[in-house]
């Protein structure tokens, strides 16, 4: 990725955000934001709005920092309006100017940067060194301060200048870490309050708060915190209600090195977890982190797919596997709906009806038309859905089809069936692509084996058979995209844009099926079909880009009517 420049704080973006209603009214917020949004911006980065990210707040409030501090974890881009140069050499630039982005990229592409654990460590160290220098505090103390302040340097420095003592106290540092380097001592007359041991040569340790415990107890305490509770950044003194936070140097003194290693791993984790713009790659065993400027509140306008060094493509918003073009919120709803419904939906549509009164699902398990709802005790007729009481005694031969109650109930039933039919329409297509992707993969693996065989008989080189692998991968990705277009479509209300969307979807669908068919050809013909296969692969990819670009652009511009408020 080419180096990019920091982008100025977008005034419009922050004003918009300030006037948006709370998150629970997502649909309205979406519209409002869209209405006021200028045409160009791609990502809303670096603004200091209040982000009511729950996990952030819960910790932040317990630290008395308030909301402002808990947000804005950008690499110093926070208050830089009109003063961009100042942050020029921050070694973090993933943001580009809105103009840059619009020119260079497709609407569905998002800027991101991948970091190795070493990069993260360096970044962390770099920030610590820089701030330590500024505040004239030792690095251990500075690290604690920065962790306390969630790595918002500017804000931290400001607070430090305002009231150094108060900040140090709140961060659990007290003063004097420099004058009293940590050391293990034996103190005459000391008895440990934890294990109740005493003795002349009992080694003990205390931070500057003076709460002294034997080194054994201290070690066990730290082990518990680090190993069992996974804590690192904010481990406090074992003393009762003492806020003093243990620093890396003291820790090194007290625990064996395997624990120190674990401690540093955890610290690194909190560094990434503390910042909205950083996330670990969710692929199993992957050690990389990804930085992306897309914020939570942007997620109804963009689907930020990022590509890790390990080749895993995932959504930066929700960390699920890439789900373009479907926005995170819809993906979540969709998956929940499928989990609730999928196994039973088909069966339900064939064998059950809903109680006309309470809408719980009723299964007909005998020949009798007299139904009693288990839930609300409503008695009705299975055939006409009318009230049973209106049937009199002629239950065995339902002749009350024109009864009003039956008519209304049938209407309601039809409506609810309709919505189920609609869901099944999209679900079946969604599930089909999921299934087909697996089948395609199987066929490819079989083909691959045959190709290896073919290679030796036909004299084709390894590089010449690579087109198959390329085709297979394209197929997988396109099916993945198609799959999500159906989930997206389920939540799409009809407007003048939906037809174009459906056309694009159909084109991609056809391209995919055409390519998929190629894999069913006899292996000995495949070599001769190379050109055709390459063409079809390229065409698939082109169609995919068309679908994604169109949906992403209109998502950004608010041209889709999304049924966000439909119940799951």
């Amino acid at each position: 990725m080419p180096p990019t420049r920091k982008r100025k704080l977008d005034q419009t973006a922050s004003t918009i955000h300030a006037t948006s209603p709370p998150k629970r009214h997502q649909a309205e917020e979406f519209k409002e934001v869209e209405a006021a949004l200028p045409a160009t911006p791609q990502t809303l980065t670096s603004d200091k709005g209040m982000d009511s990210d729950d996990d952030f707040n819960s910790v932040a409030s317990s630290m008395d920092l308030g909301e402002e501090m808990s947000s804005s974890v950008d690499f110093g881009a926070g208050d830089s309006d009109g003063d961009v140069e100042e942050y020029e050499d921050d070694n973090t630039g993933f943001e580009a100017t809105a103009k840059d982005l619009a020119n260079k990229r497709k609407a569905f592409e998002t800027d991101f940067k991948v970091y190795s654990p070493q990069d993260i460590q360096n970044q962390q160290d770099g920030q610590v060194a820089e701030v330590a220098n500024l505040l004239e505090q030792p690095p251990e103390a500075t690290a604690i301060l920065l962790r306390y302040g969630r790595w918002n340097k500017e804000r931290l420095i400001e607070q430090y200048m305002d009231n150094q003592e108060e900040l140090l106290e709140k961060a659990g540092l007290g003063q004097d870490i420099r004058r009293n380097p940590p050391r293990i001592e034996t103190v005459i007359g000391f008895a440990c309050d934890i294990c109740c041991e005493d003795g002349q040569d009992l080694e003990s340790f205390a931070m500057t708060c003076g709460h002294r415990f034997c080194t054994d107890c201290y070690r066990q305490y730290l082990t518990q915190k680090i190993k069992d509770e996974g804590e690192a950044a904010r481990i406090k003194c074992p003393g009762d209600r003492c806020n003093k936070v243990i620093d890396a140097k003291s820790l090194d003194l007290l625990v064996p090195s395997d624990l120190t290693d674990r401690y540093h791993v955890l610290l690194m984790r909190t560094y990434v977890d503390d910042r909205e713009s950083l996330k670990w790659c969710p692929a199993p065993n992957c050690v990389y982190a990804v930085e992306c400027g897309v914020k939570k509140r942007d997620l109804l306008k963009v689907v930020p797919t990022v590509h890790c060094e390990c080749k895993h493509a995932f959504c930066f918003g929700c960390t699920l596997a890439d789900h373009q073009p479907c926005p995170c919120a819809l993906v979540k709803k969709w998956l929940k709906k499928c989990a609730d419904d999928s196994e039973t939906a088909n069966w339900i549509s064939a064998n059950t009806k809903e109680c006309p009164k309470c809408h719980s699902t009723i299964e007909k398990n005998g020949g009798c038309n007299h139904m009693t709802c288990r839930k609300c005790k409503n008695e009705f007729c299975w055939m006409c859905m009318g009230l049973w009481s209106e049937h009199g005694t002629s239950w065995y031969n339902c002749s009350r089809f024109e009864e009003k109650s039956g008519h209304d109930a049938r209407d309601a039933q039809a409506k609810s069936r309709q919505s189920l039919e609609r869901y099944l329409h999209y679900y079946n297509r969604y599930a089909n692509h999921e299934q087909s992707a697996k089948l395609d993969k199987d066929i490819f693996h079989k083909t691959e084996k045959k190709m290896t065989l073919l290679q030796s008989t036909s004299g084709m080189s390894w590089i010449e058979v690579q087109f198959l692998e390329g085709a297979s991968q394209a197929l997988q990705q396109c099916r993945e995209t198609l799959k999500w277009t159906y989930a997206f479509a389920y939540y799409l209300a009809r407007n003048n844009q939906t037809e174009i969307f459906e056309d694009n979807q159909r084109d991609l669908e056809m391209a995919v099926e055409n390519l998929s068919e190629m894999f069913e050809k006899p292996t000995d013909q495949l070599a001769g079909l190379k050109v055709e296969m390459l063409d079809k692969t390229a065409y698939c990819q082109k169609r995919k880009v068309v679908v994604l670009d169109d949906t992403a652009r209109k998502l950004k511009e608010g041209e889709w009517d999304l049924l966000l408020l439909t119940p799951c």
Binding site: I194, C195, C196, C217, Q220, Q224, P238, D240
Partner: protein
């Protein structure tokens, strides 16, 4: 008893068998791992002065690094009720920051925990259960230490 808890508990027990603050008494500690304590609450009309409440302490081998598990017990003979309090569920589980990972300090001990709970009752003004008590009591399957209580309001 293995772990570091042995010696510490022995010492605590020796001290407790000597003298305890008013309204707190040791019922049993035959099993060093599990103690029972009785409490009365002074000067609060919500709790009759002669009504006793039974606390059960359970210690892991990692005590006092790890907090003990402390719950109120419901007994019929002798009768022990679960005291009415907005932070005490009707199954005896207590929502008190002192007893969770964040609030616990290994400096605390059985006596100090009893005193804290006693004073939490003594200062209570609301004769009620926590919100969602019924639901919580019905559905909770976790040990008290594994529950993340939503709030710890020190004013109640």
């Amino acid at each position: 008893m293995a772990g570091m808890s042995g010696k510490r508990l022995q010492k605590e027990l020796a001290k407790i068998q000597g003298i305890l603050p008013p309204g707190i008494s040791l019922v049993s500690a035959d099993d060093l791992r599990e103690w029972q304590m009785d409490l009365t609450v002074p000067d609060n009309s919500i709790y009759p002065p002669d009504e006793k409440y039974r606390l059960r302490f359970h210690f892991s081998t990692n005590y006092p690094i790890e907090a003990p598990e402390v719950v109120f017990m419901l007994l019929s003979n002798p009768e022990r009720k679960i005291p009415l309090h907005p932070h005490i569920y009707s199954n005896g589980i207590i929502c008190l920051d002192l007893l969770d990972k964040q609030g616990w300090s290994p400096v605390h001990n059985v006596e100090s925990v009893c005193i804290s709970i006693q004073s939490m009752l003594a200062s209570n003004t609301k004769a009620e259960r926590p919100p969602g008590d019924a639901e919580f009591v019905r559905s909770n399957r976790s040990r008290p230490r594994d529950i993340n209580f939503l709030y710890h309001d020190p004013t109640v």
